[in-house]
């Protein structure tokens, strides 16, 4: 398992080398979006409107941060559970999104989309919101401000610690539960 330092937006050549289990330190620009923001974003796409951020090469972080204390760009900011965004993710990957950051399992449809469109799914440590916020150096609400914690934010991240959970070659990192489901 390798460690890579990457800068977002991401390119296909960044992603093809990644394998499930690799560690990535991500820097650059990522966009936050979770449940309600995904619904609105896809409604905008349905209406042929411009999305609130460029989708090409984008990394979407599934997070609803807590309010920023004075002197800091953001409050706690760990990943939310990703499967709730599975409805939307294949379409966004088809439109150029390269990666998402969250926690928990993805659907087969999302895993297929990662293979088809050269994308990856990154895991970050759930519940470590105070720790992860230290890697966020700037944050700005750029769309859907009325959604409060679910608004779309442009984040600048520095060496954000990630694990490749699903790669673009069909591999998955999670342990298979020792149970006949």
């Amino acid at each position: 398992m390798a460690t890579y330092s990457l800068t977002a937006p991401l390119r296909d050549e960044d992603l093809r080398k990644l394998r499930a289990g690799d560690v990535v330190r991500l820097s650059g620009t990522v966009y936050t979006a979770r449940d309600a923001a995904h619904k609105r974003l896809c409604e905008q796409l349905d209406n042929n409107e411009e999305p609130p951020f460029p989708l090409q090469g984008a990394v979407i972080y599934y997070v609803g941060p807590s309010p920023a204390p004075e002197g800091r760009p953001i409050g706690s900011a760990g990943p939310t559970t990703s499967y709730r965004m599975d409805t939307y993710a294949p379409r966004l990957h088809a439109l150029g999104v390269k990666a998402s950051i969250g926690k928990g399992k993805r659907s087969q449809a999302v895993r297929n989309a990662l293979q088809e469109h050269t994308g990856v799914y990154f895991g970050a440590t759930g519940g470590a919101g105070a720790l992860l916020s230290q890697c966020i150096t700037a944050a700005e609400v750029i769309a859907y401000a009325d959604l409060g914690p679910e608004a779309v934010r442009r984040l600048t991240v520095q060496d954000f610690p990630l694990l490749v959970v699903n790669d673009s070659h069909g591999n998955e990192l999670y342990a298979k539960p020792n149970y006949d489901l």
């Binding site: 807590s66 928990g104 105070a130 916020s133 914690p149 679910e150």
Partner: protein
């Protein structure tokens, strides 16, 4: 009768809410440290190390442990000899709102269909029991949505018994896998009625990690379930390892001769509970 002023309750609840969000209870911290000492897999050790570092950082900086500062859940035991100056649930709800605002905690509640945020994290989920005595005990939990979503309730047949209960709980945790932020704490409510079993499961989560149910037979069931859940091998954040859950807590009460209600309330590793006795 003993009078308790609304102001005293209000201040106590604001303190509970703001402190719970930032300070991991000592029993949970110790359980994570013990798990770190026991784990052999590198990824499990890495995750557990991050969680301990996160707890230390939150306590030091005042940042919430997790960005999901949850629904404000309260289990209240009101002594029959206490007179509260005011309407108790209203006092608790208003104090919860103030605590979430003052503590810079995330407001996570919304209309279930339009998804419009209520803006102040209200309403609190409040359970009140009247108990003997002249004290007021307020237990608070900041309950996150990711783990709550992995919870389930079912009505088993009496014939399914312990084997059915065990299968349902272990299967649920296997299906939940990495989603609820393992290592989890599992609350199990057995018996009562359809509405009571989930409340028992949630109340069970207030008991500190490592403290067993006082009934030795139920205590043995807790340990049997804990072993079975940890044998799943899901591990911290689903990356494999010995620590899928830190503990299993069972609360049980009699049920109808036709019924066997069962509820599993899943708690993430960030088990933020606090209690005050007035």
């Amino acid at each position: 009768m003993r009078n308790i002023e609304a102001r005293e309750i209000h201040e106590a609840v604001v303190g509970l809410v703001t402190q719970a969000a930032r300070h991991l209870p000592p029993d949970v911290n110790q359980a994570l440290a013990a798990a770190l000492a026991r784990e052999e897999s590198d990824s499990a050790r890495e995750i557990l190390g991050q969680l301990l570092e996160n707890a230390e950082l939150a306590a030091r900086t005042g940042l919430p442990l997790c960005q999901d500062t949850g629904v404000g859940v309260f289990f209240v035991e009101l002594g029959a000899d206490v007179r509260v100056q005011g309407v108790l649930p209203e006092i608790i709800n208003a104090a919860m709102v103030e605590g979430y605002a003052k503590g810079l905690l995330r407001k996570s509640l919304c209309h279930p269909l339009t998804r419009k945020n209520t803006g102040d994290n209200s309403p609190a989920a409040i359970h009140v029991d009247i108990v003997p005595g002249d004290r007021l005990t307020i237990m608070h939990m900041a309950k996150g949505g990711g783990s709550e979503n992995m919870s389930r309730c079912t009505m088993l047949t009496p014939a399914q018994g312990w084997a059915g209960i065990k299968d349902f709980v272990v299967r649920r945790m296997a299906e939940a896998g990495p989603n609820p932020c393992p290592p989890t704490i599992v609350g199990v409510g057995i018996g009562g009625t359809f509405d009571m079993a989930p409340a028992l499961a949630k109340k069970a989560l207030f008991r500190p990690v490592g403290i067993r149910n006082p009934d030795p037979e139920i205590a043995a069931m807790e340990l049997e379930l804990l072993d079975a859940v940890n044998d799943l091998g899901i591990g911290p954040m689903g990356l494999g390892g010995r620590t899928t859950s830190l503990d299993v807590k069972i609360e049980m009460r009699p049920c109808h001769i036709a019924s066997l209600p069962l509820a599993v309330n899943v708690q993430c590793h960030s088990s933020r509970v606090r209690e005050v006795v007035l």
